[in-house]
């Protein structure tokens, strides 16, 4: 299980690196889409069907938004003059990444390994959840009843985003000085 997941995440990393270095913006978007959809596979492997559905649909809609914007804009990447010290930048990046990963590995060495998770707060959600919330789907039960307040905040965020996009994309910002 752990091996299978790390292979998929390995492909996601390669896809992400390609997405960031692709020349044409559309191919960069496709690579980002691949990373998103492989996340769906990880969710299915980790027994999270709710997240798989939401991630597929949200990833599709994000791609539609991005392609709607990038389609007839200048898609060619403006890389005037390859960076002279490309090698230096990459080596610095790898060094910093290695140091951070080493520090992260040091931090998580004595935490629970994948799979050994003894839920404490969630134990009350799981045993006897049917009686408390009555919903067969525990995640919906947690989302709408145990932590309904979060979901209200969540719906507000989408409302804010919609109002925000309407505000930013309106035609005239300021009334002409009378």
């Amino acid at each position: 299980m752990e091996l299978l997941l790390s292979i998929i995440i390995g492909f996601m990393i390669i896809g992400a690196i390609y997405a960031l270095h692709a020349n044409d913006l559309l191919s960069a978007l496709m690579a980002a889409g691949i990373v998103g959809y492989s996340l769906v596979i990880c969710f299915l492997l980790l027994k999270a069907p709710d997240l798989a559905i939401v991630q597929i649909v949200v990833e599709t809609i994000t791609l539609i938004y991005m392609v709607a914007i990038v389609l007839n804009s200048s898609r060619k990447e403006l890389d005037k003059g390859k960076r002279r010290n490309a090698f230096l930048n990459i080596s610095i990046a790898v060094l910093v990444a290695f140091a951070l990963v080493y520090y992260f590995q040091l931090a998580i060495v004595n935490l629970d390994v994948l799979g050994e998770h003894a839920p404490r707060m969630a134990k009350a959600y799981m045993d006897g959840a049917a009686e408390k919330t009555g919903s067969a789907n525990l995640v919906t039960g947690v989302l709408f009843d145990f932590r309904g307040y979060d979901t209200l905040g969540e719906a507000t965020i989408l409302f804010t985003a919609a109002v925000g996009v309407l505000t930013i994309l309106r035609i005239k910002g300021r009334k002409e000085k009378a």
Partner: protein, 112 residues
């Protein structure tokens, strides 16, 4: 253990993308990649070996469920990520209309 480290590497790749890319859309892609890695990290924490998906099916006998709390958190976080990306894209397209390019350095010297 290796899975968490790979997840952290994906986070660093996204961070590298956001910090070094000059193209507005690639910065947004870098940010979404960072989001993916944090979501994966949260679900990985909640995974229980041989656990069932957290749906009560009538025929179940004494099931061990995977932890539903991180899944509820990630479901909320995915939609927050969508809202943030939509906001970033609306500002990016507006900047693109004003300057005609996605490139930050271009924008800097056009600004004069």
């Amino acid at each position: 253990m290796i899975v968490f480290i790979m997840c952290f590497i994906l986070f660093l790749v996204g961070l590298y993308g956001v910090l070094t890319r000059r193209n507005l859309i690639k910065i947004v892609i870098g940010l979404t990649v960072m989001e993916f890695s944090v979501f994966l990290f949260l679900v990985l924490i909640g995974y229980i070996a041989h656990g069932e998906a957290p749906i009560i099916v009538p025929g179940m006998k004494e099931p061990v469920f995977v932890d539903p709390l991180p899944q509820a958190m990630v479901l909320t976080a995915i939609v927050i990520g969508l809202a943030t990306t939509a906001m970033l894209l609306s500002i990016a397209i507006r900047i693109y209309k004003k300057y005609g390019t996605w490139d930050i350095r271009e924008i800097k010297n056009l600004r004069g």
